[in-house]
Amino acid sequence: MKKGVVLLLFISLITVLSFAGVNIEFWHYWDGANGDKLEELVETFNEAHPDITIEPIFIPGSSIVTKIQTASLSGRTPALAISDIIKISLIAETGQLVDLKPFIAKDDYNIDDFYEELLVYGQRDNQLVSLPVSSSNLGLFWNKRLFKEAGLDPEKPPKTWEELVEYSEQIKEKTGKIGYELYTQGGEGTTWQWQVFLWGAGGEFLDPVTNYQKAAFNSEAGRKALQFWYDLIHEYEVSSISPWGLFGRGEAAMVMDGSWMVQFFPMQVDFELGAAVFPHPEDGVPATNMGGEQIFVFNKSEEEKQAAWEFIKWFTGKDIQIEWDKATGFIPVKKSVANDDGYVAYIKNTKRLLLPFVESGKYANARPPINEYPEISDIFSKEILKALHDRMSVEEALESAEALVNDILK
């Protein structure tokens, strides 16, 4: 009996001792102010948890996926890493990501506080392999100076597509500038902006009912969205096919761009900026697309996994997230943060331009969380550009894209 107690004590001592020195790597690609804030937060965490040491390692965003790929082949993965939401399903293919559900259940962690649209990326069979840590979305920016020159109210952005056209035509007529700048350079840049129009018109990109295994954009909403783009260029002639960046140079009055530009535009431009939730059709719904990062754990020893989870739990906690979002300009991933009075007051007072993006959080749709997405997005953008370049009609372009996309998914 006594022996048993000693043994038990011994075992627990060993566990505590071995737990004492858990040292794990955290691969990320946040640079600049974001990277500084992360380092600071990690230091706070390490101080508060003497038994865990998190070591943040910066890897450039362009190579983190490749780096994770080679690491997973050679068995040198970090315990913790982040990636762009759109790459998670691919990384999960390694089969080395840890299911977070048991941890969530054990700690009674409130998962419902996250925006649901963000949680689709971590879903894999019946598992949840990643959690959102940062988010960004798309909205409308407008040039107040050009609005004034065109005789428009500089404080009143368009709320609907109809107003977008109306304002653009007036801008074109009075100032000769482009009314609305479209992203016509192809690839994901074109596709993800177009999706905002599609969702605004009430459509879906891939069919969620079939688990995103079928194209759904060749619908009435899809035709409406693409026809609208076509008309902006060819019918109303308020947009053009040109290199990206007209808005930043003051050559276009309005543009769709990301919440991160709240940081960058003011440094680039010499005019007063406005930001708003992106316009939607009169009979449609407000919508936006979102980007961002999610955090995940690689299969390691139990102690390392537990330590990684402790960090995730801490980092995604409401207070830390408020601190993180305030410092970085990311959009809240949790409803409790977006609705927090202190946070909202802070944004209103110091980062007013960010406010519409925080509000858009609830209108955010998720791009399909599937491996084939990058290819689908690329091919899709090519087909709709064919319509914009007048190589085929709107209907033909969507039909052709549908056939090509379904072919990839079959």
Partner: protein, 303 residues
Amino acid sequence: MRNLTSKSGSLTPAFFRKEQTAAFLLLFPSILILGVFNIYPAFYSIVLSFFEWNGFSPDIPFVGIENYKTLFTNGVFYNSLLVTIIYSVVVTFGSLIIGLLVAVALDRDIKGKTLYRILYFLPVVTPTVASGVVWKYLFDPTQGIINTMLSYINIQGPAWLNDSAWALFSVSIVGIWKRIGFCMIIYLAALQGVSANLYEAARIDGATEFNILKSIKIPLLSPATLFLTITGFIDSFRIFDLVYVMTNGGPVDETDVLGLMLYRNGFEYFKLGYASSIAVGIFGILLILSFVQWKFTQGGEAY
């Protein structure tokens, strides 16, 4: 080895053996590096072209010739092939003709000819990515130098890289610009080999400069022309970086060269097997071109 231990019975065998050992030892580092970083990956990509793999998943199913079937029944491949061929033809012959004219012009005693030669050769040694970025600015439809200049003489320039009809041509201009210097150097070297007596005789017979160019220089330069044609094709067939920086294949797919298609499938879509089959395709085409070169130049002897 057996042949080397010859019947002559001299000291040669031992000597040869020693020399071979030394040669092997000296070559070993380069063989090792080439083997690990060039030869092994090249063969591995041939193997990989028969599999389907996204680079992440632990299962790598064998799919036989499925990737090649997809490749050869795919409109995207034929578009890329056509774009690459057009680009190669325009760049190869464009740079060849301009390079010849520049070489002929600089093959005489004019003031500052070394400076001119250096200026024409500079683009060859300028990094492709840097050239691409700079040219992209020059081609900008509203703020670029080219269209600004054109507007002075009341010409509304095209949108260059953003215009379906002009994009491939615009990229080719940069390709030509980068290659003129190389063609010039080869032609200059070849012109040194043409005897001055021929020109003199022609002039006595009353030939004009144009006659000399047409009837003496061009025919005598034909081995250089052949060499430049073939290397031109091989070089421009592998084009990737310039297009990647300038248009990324656009507008739509007007400048989507094979190298870009390969890159996209391998590193954006993570379809490593399919990307490998494209690589093998490009390799096959280049192999044929090299064979043609070998054949026409009698194993490189003619040049």
